[in-house]
Amino acid sequence: MAVPKAAVALRHVKSVAVRFCPFQTNVETTRIFLERVNSKKARASNINCVVTTDVRHDGSEPVVDIMFADGDRLIMKGANLTAAEMLSAFNSRCIAKDLKAEEKTKKKSA
Protein backbone atom coordinates (compact mmCIF):
# COMPACT_ATOMS: atom_id res chain seq x y z
CA MET A 1 0.00 0.00 0.00
CA ALA A 2 1.67 3.18 -1.14
CA VAL A 3 1.11 6.16 1.14
CA PRO A 4 1.24 9.50 -0.69
CA LYS A 5 4.36 11.44 0.17
CA ALA A 6 2.59 14.82 0.37
CA ALA A 7 3.58 16.78 3.43
CA VAL A 8 1.09 17.23 6.23
CA ALA A 9 0.46 20.87 7.15
CA LEU A 10 -0.45 21.61 10.74
CA ARG A 11 -1.14 25.33 10.24
CA HIS A 12 -4.71 25.24 11.56
CA VAL A 13 -4.18 22.53 14.14
CA LYS A 14 -4.02 23.23 17.85
CA SER A 15 -3.28 19.74 19.12
CA VAL A 16 -3.10 16.13 17.98
CA ALA A 17 -3.66 13.27 20.42
CA VAL A 18 -2.96 9.71 19.26
CA ARG A 19 -3.95 6.76 21.41
CA PHE A 20 -3.21 3.14 20.50
CA CYS A 21 -2.28 -0.24 21.89
CA PRO A 22 0.90 -1.40 20.11
CA PHE A 23 0.36 -5.13 20.67
CA GLN A 24 -2.73 -5.15 18.46
CA THR A 25 -2.57 -5.87 14.75
CA ASN A 26 -4.73 -2.98 13.49
CA VAL A 27 -2.37 -0.23 14.60
CA GLU A 28 -0.18 0.09 11.52
CA THR A 29 -2.13 2.90 9.82
CA THR A 30 -2.35 4.94 13.03
CA ARG A 31 1.39 4.63 13.55
CA ILE A 32 2.05 5.71 9.95
CA PHE A 33 -0.23 8.73 10.48
CA LEU A 34 1.65 9.57 13.65
CA GLU A 35 4.98 9.41 11.80
CA ARG A 36 3.62 11.76 9.14
CA VAL A 37 2.30 14.22 11.68
CA ASN A 38 5.66 14.17 13.45
CA SER A 39 7.66 14.64 10.25
CA LYS A 40 10.13 17.49 9.83
CA LYS A 41 7.96 19.58 7.47
CA ALA A 42 4.83 19.07 9.52
CA ARG A 43 6.55 20.19 12.71
CA ALA A 44 8.09 23.13 10.91
CA SER A 45 4.67 24.28 9.60
CA ASN A 46 3.41 24.88 13.13
CA ILE A 47 5.76 24.86 16.09
CA ASN A 48 2.99 25.51 18.58
CA CYS A 49 1.04 22.40 17.71
CA VAL A 50 1.15 19.84 20.52
CA VAL A 51 1.37 16.19 19.46
CA THR A 52 0.78 13.75 22.31
CA THR A 53 1.03 9.98 22.11
CA ASP A 54 -0.75 7.71 24.58
CA VAL A 55 0.55 4.14 24.46
CA ARG A 56 -1.73 1.77 26.36
CA HIS A 57 -2.16 -1.95 26.72
CA ASP A 58 -5.91 -2.27 27.24
CA GLY A 59 -7.00 -3.65 23.88
CA SER A 60 -8.68 -0.36 22.95
CA GLU A 61 -9.08 0.80 19.35
CA PRO A 62 -6.53 3.20 17.91
CA VAL A 63 -7.91 6.76 17.90
CA VAL A 64 -6.57 10.02 16.50
CA ASP A 65 -8.08 13.15 18.05
CA ILE A 66 -7.29 16.41 16.23
CA MET A 67 -8.30 19.74 17.70
CA PHE A 68 -8.26 22.65 15.25
CA ALA A 69 -7.54 26.26 16.13
CA ASP A 70 -11.11 27.38 15.37
CA GLY A 71 -12.63 24.84 17.74
CA ASP A 72 -13.38 22.05 15.27
CA ARG A 73 -12.56 18.51 16.28
CA LEU A 74 -11.72 15.55 14.06
CA ILE A 75 -11.78 12.08 15.59
CA MET A 76 -10.53 9.22 13.42
CA LYS A 77 -10.74 5.61 14.52
CA GLY A 78 -7.88 4.00 12.66
CA ALA A 79 -8.80 0.34 13.18
CA ASN A 80 -10.36 -0.08 9.72
CA LEU A 81 -8.92 2.94 7.91
CA THR A 82 -5.92 3.11 5.63
CA ALA A 83 -3.22 5.70 6.19
CA ALA A 84 -4.01 7.31 2.83
CA GLU A 85 -7.67 7.76 3.81
CA MET A 86 -6.76 9.31 7.15
CA LEU A 87 -4.30 11.69 5.53
CA SER A 88 -6.74 12.68 2.76
CA ALA A 89 -9.52 13.35 5.27
CA PHE A 90 -7.20 15.49 7.36
CA ASN A 91 -5.77 17.33 4.32
CA SER A 92 -9.21 18.04 2.87
CA ARG A 93 -10.27 19.72 6.10
CA CYS A 94 -7.04 21.72 6.22
CA ILE A 95 -7.60 22.88 2.63
CA ALA A 96 -11.19 23.90 3.45
CA LYS A 97 -9.92 25.93 6.39
CA ASP A 98 -7.27 27.52 4.16
CA LEU A 99 -9.97 28.62 1.72
CA LYS A 100 -12.09 30.06 4.52
CA ALA A 101 -9.11 31.99 5.84
CA GLU A 102 -8.37 33.34 2.33
CA GLU A 103 -11.96 34.46 1.88
CA LYS A 104 -11.87 36.24 5.21
CA THR A 105 -8.67 38.07 4.33
CA LYS A 106 -10.15 39.05 0.93
CA LYS A 107 -13.28 40.40 2.60
CA LYS A 108 -11.18 42.33 5.10
CA SER A 109 -8.99 43.81 2.36
CA ALA A 110 -12.08 44.67 0.30
Binding site: P22, R31, L34, E35, S39, T53, R56, H57
Partner: protein
Amino acid sequence: MAAAALCCRGLCRTGWLPTLQIVRYAKSVTRHWKAMHFERQKLMAVTEYIAPKPAIPEKCVTPYIRAIKEENGYAKLLRRQVTETFRDSKMIAVCQHNFIPSEEMLLMKHRLRKHNIHVKFFPNEIVRPYLSVSKYKNLLPLFVGCSLMLVSPEIKAKEMLRILKNVPQINLLGACIDNTILSNQGVVNYSNLPAMEIIQGQVVGTLSLLASQTCALLHHSPVHLTALLDQYIKEQSGGAGETDGKAGEGQAELGPAKSSVGL
Protein backbone atom coordinates in the same frame (compact mmCIF):
# COMPACT_ATOMS: atom_id res chain seq x y z
CA MET B 1 22.90 6.96 -67.47
CA ALA B 2 25.24 5.56 -70.07
CA ALA B 3 22.29 4.04 -71.93
CA ALA B 4 20.48 7.32 -71.79
CA ALA B 5 23.59 9.06 -73.09
CA LEU B 6 23.91 6.52 -75.88
CA CYS B 7 20.27 6.93 -76.63
CA CYS B 8 20.67 10.69 -76.88
CA ARG B 9 23.50 10.38 -79.29
CA GLY B 10 21.57 7.93 -81.33
CA LEU B 11 18.52 10.12 -81.35
CA CYS B 12 20.39 13.24 -82.36
CA ARG B 13 19.20 13.56 -85.92
CA THR B 14 18.55 10.32 -87.71
CA GLY B 15 15.87 9.10 -85.24
CA TRP B 16 15.41 5.85 -83.41
CA LEU B 17 18.06 3.32 -84.30
CA PRO B 18 17.29 -0.36 -83.73
CA THR B 19 20.83 -1.09 -82.50
CA LEU B 20 20.41 1.18 -79.62
CA GLN B 21 17.51 -0.03 -77.56
CA ILE B 22 16.31 1.61 -74.38
CA VAL B 23 16.43 -1.07 -71.71
CA ARG B 24 14.68 -0.05 -68.57
CA TYR B 25 15.79 -1.36 -65.20
CA ALA B 26 18.90 -2.92 -66.64
CA LYS B 27 20.95 -2.94 -63.46
CA SER B 28 20.79 -6.11 -61.39
CA VAL B 29 22.72 -4.78 -58.42
CA THR B 30 20.65 -1.98 -57.00
CA ARG B 31 20.92 0.08 -53.89
CA HIS B 32 17.33 -0.69 -52.93
CA TRP B 33 15.63 -4.00 -52.40
CA LYS B 34 14.56 -5.35 -55.73
CA ALA B 35 11.72 -7.80 -56.07
CA MET B 36 12.65 -11.20 -57.42
CA HIS B 37 11.37 -12.44 -60.67
CA PHE B 38 7.88 -13.87 -60.23
CA GLU B 39 8.92 -17.37 -61.12
CA ARG B 40 11.79 -17.16 -58.72
CA GLN B 41 9.40 -15.96 -56.05
CA LYS B 42 7.18 -18.97 -56.63
CA LEU B 43 10.16 -21.30 -56.45
CA MET B 44 11.37 -19.77 -53.21
CA ALA B 45 7.91 -20.09 -51.66
CA VAL B 46 7.63 -23.71 -52.63
CA THR B 47 11.09 -24.66 -51.48
CA GLU B 48 10.83 -22.85 -48.12
CA TYR B 49 12.21 -24.83 -45.16
CA ILE B 50 9.60 -26.15 -42.72
CA ALA B 51 11.14 -27.12 -39.38
CA PRO B 52 10.00 -30.45 -37.95
CA LYS B 53 7.68 -29.95 -34.94
CA PRO B 54 7.93 -32.38 -32.05
CA ALA B 55 4.80 -34.31 -31.12
CA ILE B 56 4.68 -32.76 -27.62
CA PRO B 57 5.87 -29.18 -27.48
CA GLU B 58 8.87 -28.65 -25.25
CA LYS B 59 6.99 -26.19 -23.01
CA CYS B 60 4.75 -28.96 -21.78
CA VAL B 61 7.56 -31.40 -21.06
CA THR B 62 10.35 -29.38 -19.52
CA PRO B 63 9.55 -27.91 -16.08
CA TYR B 64 9.81 -24.15 -15.63
CA ILE B 65 12.88 -23.57 -13.48
CA ARG B 66 12.83 -20.23 -11.75
CA ALA B 67 16.21 -18.68 -11.27
CA ILE B 68 17.02 -18.67 -7.55
CA LYS B 69 17.71 -15.11 -6.49
CA GLU B 70 20.87 -14.95 -4.50
CA GLU B 71 20.50 -13.21 -1.19
CA ASN B 72 22.06 -9.85 -0.78
CA GLY B 73 25.23 -9.95 1.32
CA TYR B 74 24.07 -6.93 3.27
CA ALA B 75 20.84 -8.72 4.20
CA LYS B 76 22.86 -11.67 5.50
CA LEU B 77 25.00 -9.34 7.59
CA LEU B 78 21.94 -7.60 9.04
CA ARG B 79 20.33 -10.93 9.88
CA ARG B 80 23.48 -12.03 11.69
CA GLN B 81 23.53 -8.76 13.62
CA VAL B 82 19.87 -9.20 14.60
CA THR B 83 20.56 -12.73 15.86
CA GLU B 84 23.54 -11.57 17.89
CA THR B 85 21.60 -8.61 19.32
CA PHE B 86 18.70 -10.74 20.50
CA ARG B 87 21.03 -13.39 21.89
CA ASP B 88 23.33 -11.09 23.83
CA SER B 89 20.79 -8.64 25.27
CA LYS B 90 18.88 -9.04 28.51
CA MET B 91 16.83 -5.89 27.94
CA ILE B 92 15.28 -5.14 24.52
CA ALA B 93 12.96 -2.12 24.29
CA VAL B 94 11.03 -1.31 21.10
CA CYS B 95 10.14 2.33 20.45
CA GLN B 96 8.24 4.26 17.79
CA HIS B 97 10.70 6.40 15.86
CA ASN B 98 9.27 9.74 14.77
CA PHE B 99 11.39 12.46 13.25
CA ILE B 100 13.96 13.74 15.71
CA PRO B 101 16.61 16.36 14.93
CA SER B 102 20.07 14.90 14.58
CA GLU B 103 21.52 16.82 17.54
CA GLU B 104 18.86 15.53 19.91
CA MET B 105 19.32 12.03 18.56
CA LEU B 106 23.06 12.28 19.15
CA LEU B 107 22.53 13.53 22.70
CA MET B 108 20.07 10.75 23.44
CA LYS B 109 22.44 8.11 22.06
CA HIS B 110 25.26 9.55 24.14
CA ARG B 111 23.20 9.51 27.37
CA LEU B 112 22.04 5.95 26.73
CA ARG B 113 25.57 4.82 25.89
CA LYS B 114 26.71 5.99 29.32
CA HIS B 115 24.45 3.29 30.80
CA ASN B 116 25.58 0.71 28.24
CA ILE B 117 22.31 0.91 26.29
CA HIS B 118 22.73 0.72 22.51
CA VAL B 119 20.35 2.17 19.89
CA LYS B 120 19.79 -0.19 16.97
CA PHE B 121 17.92 0.27 13.70
CA PHE B 122 16.99 -2.77 11.65
CA PRO B 123 14.66 -3.01 8.63
CA ASN B 124 11.38 -4.77 9.33
CA GLU B 125 11.95 -7.17 6.43
CA ILE B 126 14.95 -8.62 8.28
CA VAL B 127 13.58 -8.59 11.81
CA ARG B 128 10.10 -9.99 11.23
CA PRO B 129 11.19 -13.34 9.72
CA TYR B 130 13.69 -13.80 12.55
CA LEU B 131 11.07 -13.02 15.22
CA SER B 132 8.46 -15.33 13.73
CA VAL B 133 10.88 -18.24 14.16
CA SER B 134 12.41 -17.34 17.50
CA LYS B 135 10.86 -17.22 20.99
CA TYR B 136 10.06 -13.50 20.59
CA LYS B 137 6.97 -14.16 18.46
CA ASN B 138 4.77 -11.91 20.57
CA LEU B 139 6.93 -8.90 19.75
CA LEU B 140 5.93 -9.18 16.06
CA PRO B 141 3.08 -6.61 16.18
CA LEU B 142 5.50 -3.99 17.49
CA PHE B 143 7.73 -4.09 14.41
CA VAL B 144 5.42 -2.22 12.09
CA GLY B 145 6.36 1.06 10.51
CA CYS B 146 9.41 2.94 11.69
CA SER B 147 10.77 1.50 14.90
CA LEU B 148 14.02 1.46 16.76
CA MET B 149 15.39 -0.87 19.43
CA LEU B 150 17.19 -0.04 22.64
CA VAL B 151 19.23 -3.04 23.70
CA SER B 152 21.47 -3.63 26.66
CA PRO B 153 23.22 -6.61 28.27
CA GLU B 154 22.25 -5.16 31.68
CA ILE B 155 18.79 -4.23 32.91
CA LYS B 156 18.57 -0.49 33.48
CA ALA B 157 14.90 0.32 33.07
CA LYS B 158 14.82 3.38 35.33
CA GLU B 159 17.67 5.15 33.57
CA MET B 160 16.22 4.33 30.17
CA LEU B 161 12.81 5.74 31.12
CA ARG B 162 14.35 8.89 32.55
CA ILE B 163 16.25 9.55 29.31
CA LEU B 164 13.23 8.77 27.11
CA LYS B 165 11.09 11.18 29.12
CA ASN B 166 13.27 14.02 27.84
CA VAL B 167 12.75 12.95 24.24
CA PRO B 168 9.03 13.24 23.37
CA GLN B 169 9.52 12.09 19.77
CA ILE B 170 10.51 8.56 20.82
CA ASN B 171 7.54 6.60 22.25
CA LEU B 172 8.18 3.38 24.15
CA LEU B 173 5.88 0.64 22.84
CA GLY B 174 7.02 -2.44 24.73
CA ALA B 175 10.03 -4.30 26.03
CA CYS B 176 11.39 -7.75 26.66
CA ILE B 177 13.25 -7.70 29.96
CA ASP B 178 14.73 -10.92 31.32
CA ASN B 179 12.70 -13.09 28.90
CA THR B 180 9.47 -11.36 29.98
CA ILE B 181 7.48 -9.26 27.54
CA LEU B 182 6.26 -6.06 29.20
CA SER B 183 4.06 -3.23 28.02
CA ASN B 184 4.76 0.46 28.60
CA GLN B 185 3.10 0.39 32.03
CA GLY B 186 4.85 -2.85 32.85
CA VAL B 187 8.24 -1.25 32.23
CA VAL B 188 7.28 1.66 34.49
CA ASN B 189 6.22 -0.74 37.26
CA TYR B 190 9.40 -2.75 36.78
CA SER B 191 11.51 0.37 37.16
CA ASN B 192 9.75 1.20 40.44
CA LEU B 193 10.61 -2.17 41.97
CA PRO B 194 13.26 -2.09 44.73
CA ALA B 195 16.59 -3.83 44.35
CA MET B 196 16.85 -7.61 44.48
CA GLU B 197 18.64 -7.66 47.86
CA ILE B 198 15.89 -5.63 49.51
CA ILE B 199 13.20 -7.90 48.10
CA GLN B 200 15.07 -10.99 49.24
CA GLY B 201 15.40 -9.52 52.73
CA GLN B 202 11.68 -8.79 52.80
CA VAL B 203 10.84 -12.36 51.77
CA VAL B 204 13.16 -13.83 54.39
CA GLY B 205 11.68 -11.50 57.02
CA THR B 206 8.12 -12.53 56.11
CA LEU B 207 8.96 -16.24 56.31
CA SER B 208 10.80 -15.89 59.61
CA LEU B 209 7.93 -13.79 60.97
CA LEU B 210 5.57 -16.73 60.54
CA ALA B 211 7.93 -19.07 62.32
CA SER B 212 8.43 -16.61 65.17
CA GLN B 213 4.70 -16.09 65.47
CA THR B 214 4.20 -19.85 65.78
CA CYS B 215 6.76 -19.97 68.56
CA ALA B 216 5.07 -17.10 70.40
CA LEU B 217 1.65 -18.69 69.96
CA LEU B 218 2.84 -21.99 71.42
CA HIS B 219 4.35 -20.26 74.45
CA HIS B 220 1.43 -17.93 74.97
CA SER B 221 -0.98 -20.19 76.87
CA PRO B 222 1.47 -21.66 79.41
CA VAL B 223 2.90 -18.21 80.04
CA HIS B 224 -0.60 -16.85 80.62
CA LEU B 225 -1.39 -19.73 82.95
CA THR B 226 1.73 -19.20 85.01
CA ALA B 227 0.97 -15.50 85.27
CA LEU B 228 -2.55 -16.23 86.45
CA LEU B 229 -1.29 -18.76 88.98
CA ASP B 230 1.26 -16.29 90.29
CA GLN B 231 -1.43 -13.71 90.69
CA TYR B 232 -3.63 -16.22 92.50
CA ILE B 233 -0.83 -17.21 94.86
CA LYS B 234 -0.11 -13.60 95.63
CA GLU B 235 -3.76 -12.97 96.35
CA GLN B 236 -3.98 -16.07 98.49
CA SER B 237 -0.87 -15.24 100.49
CA GLY B 238 -2.01 -11.65 100.86
CA GLY B 239 -5.46 -12.76 102.03
CA ALA B 240 -4.09 -15.30 104.54
CA GLY B 241 -1.86 -12.67 106.04
CA GLU B 242 -4.82 -10.33 106.39
CA THR B 243 -6.98 -12.98 108.00
CA ASP B 244 -4.22 -13.81 110.54
CA GLY B 245 -3.92 -10.19 111.29
CA LYS B 246 -7.68 -9.87 111.58
CA ALA B 247 -7.85 -13.03 113.74
CA GLY B 248 -5.15 -11.61 116.00
CA GLU B 249 -7.07 -8.34 116.28
CA GLY B 250 -10.29 -10.19 116.96
CA GLN B 251 -8.66 -12.14 119.76
CA ALA B 252 -7.18 -8.96 121.10
CA GLU B 253 -10.69 -7.40 121.04
CA LEU B 254 -12.22 -10.48 122.64
CA GLY B 255 -9.59 -10.46 125.36
CA PRO B 256 -10.54 -7.05 126.81
CA ALA B 257 -14.20 -7.97 126.31
CA LYS B 258 -13.69 -11.14 128.28
CA SER B 259 -11.80 -9.27 130.91
CA SER B 260 -14.57 -6.74 131.08
CA VAL B 261 -17.09 -9.54 131.31
CA GLY B 262 -14.93 -11.27 133.99
CA LEU B 263 -14.99 -8.19 136.09
